[in-house]
Symmetry: C2
Subunit: 156 residues, 2 copies
């Protein structure tokens, strides 16, 4: 009999681990801000309405996870401050953010349209997420995907 999902267990699930970081309330909103070029505490707070304490926690958590780094900077006439920038690990969250954005835009936007879009730097056209297999075929129908146990699966 072909193995089904019920034959392996999930205690080392990477989705759960990723969501422990990304799934906390506001985390992805913070990341969207940083991706949009907003790097400073107060700018984020004002734009998003995230409670101070929560924003403090999220930024600290993301720095701890290596998604953001905290960089000192100094504007003329001001004392030293810090801003938050993406690390490589953070930049690699683009597909996640774009995928969430696309889904949200399709199903949850106001009638007037979504407030944010993403464009290709070279040509300006909108950017979308697509699924492709490593053999190069585009995967258009969700039903063309089969989940299966990977190398780290624990049989039960």
């Amino acid at each position: 009999m072909r193995p089904t999902a019920l034959d392996w267990s999930v205690d080392n699930c990477t989705v759960a681990r990723a969501m422990e970081i990304l799934g906390e309330k506001w985390t992805l909103v913070v990341l969207r801000e940083v991706f949009s070029g907003v790097r400073r505490f107060d700018d984020m707070r004002v734009r998003t309405g995230i409670p101070r304490q929560v924003l403090t926690n999220r930024l600290a958590g993301l720095v701890e996870q290596g998604v953001l780094r905290r960089e000192p900077y100094q504007e003329p006439g001001s004392r030293i401050r810090h801003e938050y920038r993406l690390t490589t690990k953070g930049f690699d969250l683009w597909p996640v953010l774009v995928a969430v954005l696309a889904w949200g835009d399709r199903y949850l936007a106001d009638p007037e349209g979504p407030p944010l879009s993403v464009g290709h730097r070279d040509c300006g056209a909108d950017v979308r997420v697509e699924l492709h297999c490593t053999a190069g075929h585009p995967v258009t129908n969700p039903r063309d995907i089969i989940p299966r146990p990977g190398p780290g699966a624990h049989p039960r």
Copy 2:
């Protein structure tokens, strides 16, 4: 001066709205289960260790949001039960899930590898998320993407 992120506001942000659904603890794990073919309450509970109450809430919430539907079924010799299946809106979350999975696999997997992979039904090759612009160019570098206000942006 070119508009920056600071010039528009985000109270209608679709990322925040999407994360209100997807960002609750366990939601994406539940979805991964359903995508993997696990449709029944107890199977999910046993495989994932989600507390009963929370699983009840998540399933109800996802049904309410139209991501899952609750379908009656009857096995011979049993009474009528219900299982949870993806709606179209739910299927459209595939890119999100694959993107999260890919990121988690890259940065958070055990040394032995990730427990779950996804393959293309036709050729069996692994499926990945890729960013493309609508003009067809692949977008490989996160820095080639520029965020910008969309039609529903609220100027401040």
